[in-house]
Amino acid sequence: MITWKEHLGTDIPDELGREIDIFEMQMELRRQGKLDEKIFAETRLRRGIYGQRYDNGFRHDGIRSQELPYPSGDVIKGPETLWDAPGMMRIKIPYGGVNPRQLEMLADMAEEYSDGVLHVTTRQDYQLHFVHIDDTPDLMRRLASVGITTREACGNSVRNVTACPLAGVCHTEAFDVSPYAKACSAFLLGHPDAQDFGRKFKISFSGCREEACGLASMHDMGAIAVVRREGGRIRRGFELYVGGGLGAVPHQAKLFDSFLPEEELLPTAQAISRVFARLGEKKNRARARIKFLVAKLGIDEFRKEVLKEREIMPPDERWTAYLPEVPEFQETAVRPPAALNGHQPPPGFEHWVRTNVYRQRQAGYAVATLTLPLGDLSSWQARELAQIARRFSGENIRTTVEQNMVLRWVSEADLPELYAELDKIGLGAHGAGTIVDVTACPGTDTCKLGIASSRGLAAEFRRRLGAKFFQLDESIKDLRIKISGCFNSCGQHHVADIGFYGTSRTIKGHKVPHFQVVLGGKWTENAGSYGLAMGSAPARNIPEVLERITGRYLEHRSNGESFQDFVRSVGKKNLRTMLQDLLLVPAYEVDSSFYSDWGDPREFSMGDLGTGECAGEVVTLTQFNLASAEQLVFEAQIRLDDSDFAGADSLSYRAMVEAARALVKTEFLDVPGAPDTVVSEFRRRFYDTELFFDKYAGGKFANYLFRRHGSSPQSPTRDTAHQSVEESQLFIEAAHACYERMAREISGVR
């Protein structure tokens, strides 16, 4: 029976194919209980494979907590995460850019392995839900065949690098940041210096300061394009910010450099990664993001550390290799530029143009936004959209952090026809970037950390506001609503005019879903300021809360006053007073509807909250490298079983070198991978010092490595290959023991 691996063959890039093969082997190791559950959890997270609600095998059905007896029994894919439980697959798309072929592949993946729906996230990723882990290797291979990797989409790694969806076509940008975002994403993907973080690391690129653009202020590292005139020529660079972030404790990013020359972008990102890996918190997950490190050290001290690191880093030609290609980074249009020709447009076109079309810097071209309700589109829509894009926009499709998609380089004359085509497939809704275009994280629908139904509330808002959109005052239409299912802010509620995040209250023994109301956040100026929490209202009252706030704004705002200014001028106390009656919950016997959430008829419960995987597992770089060595020796065993003795011997040797390198890296992070260097460094640092020595066996296991490194067998037999595998296994065990002794000593000193 042919497999996708065989079918796709060389369509899968070698490196990606090899990585996926390794992951498939790690899955087998975990199934057999030969790979630690935490290491496997972080491994799969770094492949984009995330846990999902109810994957601990329990679900509250509204009456009781029900056990979900999956057929795989107690086989787990991470702590309290059952193997057979459906999971989520996050697919990272640098700066949100996909071409039609990729979109079609994503559509097929959603249909064959998920639930037929593609979900666009608030970080320009795509997510598939209800995916079985056994399907993920083929899913990843098929994506790899069209140039998409899911690597480091989750876990303690550099997440998707985002950028303004208008980059390259915007009127206010300094220059197109797309090629820089692309280069940064590629450079840090799998980079050894970005593998030992205590938490995730998010990077964004903006073309200008004033617009929302890439939301630099709320990112771990935010780069805003700036230019400087030097000696008669224009020099490109970035205003670089670090240490921003939302979450439960939002931080505004601090200015790291007002002009970082373009050639310093990648080395600085690398140096920041090294400082974060070295000094960032690892134990306390709640304080492990870089924002806490920047706050603890202060930006000046943090900068000093980064610059010191920058000085000692070995040079890397990739730092600037991409720069000559930057001017050539150009998207091409499929149709000539032309103005709207004045023909009778289809019904609804004018409304759509008003909210969903942005006229590009390039005359005669426009960007069309596709408003996706709750960030969702069906496989069928995605396939049809790919065809439409080929006709009107070419390769130029991007996602946005507001969970929409854009088609760029559309000839303005084609807009009426494009609108008609989009409308046919249910993607012609107007209202992009307005109050009806509500952003919401997955919340209790699928997230293990979700407290309240962010999507349920968003759907209710869409229904109510959509019905009266044309009657709304312009000042209300332009407000933004963003909803998170909990305080972790995946819905980015802090930077909305009106934000909500899920909470819970207990009233006489019954749980009641609530939303905390957050007002006055600033979306523009790269997420310029964060909103103020006003109090928690029961979920059932939230639509009324919105009515009252917007009504009061309309009545009392002074001439042209922004919503942020209105919130400041009225004040938190008065706003809370205004909402006071809506914060109350009637008794269960009086109105039980308050005791269930939007879109979910079950009686509300907190019983389904699980352990989130956003923070990943704290797995050190050494543990990861030792796990790689174990995977190599496992592969050697398979070769031995297949009577490939030379292959078994060679892999056993490589496994020992990998394990030795893992130890050497604890002292010499940049040790090159050449076996001669690794063995020599290992001998000097771990054998001569007796650090590696076993209490009883002394240096015996190290000698396995030295002997094999000194002479490789001419033609290994079954017996010699078997011995190599055994010795390699013992060496790796000794390396583990050595690392544990070192870790104990370090914690003892602390």
């Binding site: 996708w4 639930d115 729906v117 069906s378």
Partner: protein
């Protein structure tokens, strides 16, 4: 048998639909409460009614999903098998029919929906969720037609239906099954027995 284990079947609703699609949400939740579907571990309900031609209201199970599917703008119950089925092709087809008909029958008598939901079998859509082993091509159709005909003859009766392939190659391999007359799901289920 590769590519034949992950089958799907859509049985259409009589229109106009007299129940609101949102009413299927509490119905499906109640199925989970009693784990009402044999051979299925029911997990969760998902509302995708906002997605154009999407899965509508989705009941997720480990073995296969049930959804109030909106594809082709025609609502119907779609059973989408996820775990492999045992047996030969005919047995796989029979099993998928059985699960789908059972679910339709259950919805018709579901107290939450109050008898306002009726399915017909004048037209059904059988699909294979595996582009590798069952690509949507004329060759696949010609290869499988004899076995499809044999299996469906036993379910619907000999010579009372026609088969037509959905020709868009981007879609999953899908076959329209058009019967000369419509049977109620309950009647077809009794024929299984």
């Amino acid at each position: 048998m590769a590519g034949w284990q992950k089958l799907g079947l859509k049985i259409f609703l009589e229109e106009p639909l007299r129940a609101d699609t949102q009413e299927f949400i509490p119905a499906f939740h109640s199925w989970i409460q009693s784990q009402a579907v044999d051979g299925h571990l029911l997990i969760d309900v998902h509302d995708y009614s906002h997605v154009h031609r999407g899965p509508g209201i989705l009941l997720v199970a480990h073995e296969g999903n049930f959804s109030l599917d909106q594809a082709d703008d025609r609502p119907g119950l779609l059973y989408h098998r996820k775990q492999n089925l045992d047996g030969n092709r005919e047995e796989c087809i029979r099993e998928v029919f059985r699960h789908t008909l059972l679910a339709c029958s259950r919805l018709e008598s579901d107290p939450v929906l109050g008898g306002r939901v009726r399915f017909h079998t004048r037209e059904m859509l059988l699909l294979a969720n595996d582009r590798l082993h069952t690509p949507n091509s004329r060759e696949t159709f010609e290869r499988l037609r004899p076995e499809l005909t044999q299996a469906l003859s036993r379910i619907l009766g000999r010579g009372v239906f026609s088969l037509d392939r959905v020709e868009d190659p981007r879609e999953l391999f899908s076959v329209w099954v058009r019967a000369r007359r419509s049977f109620r799901p309950g009647y077809l289920l009794r024929r299984f027995n």
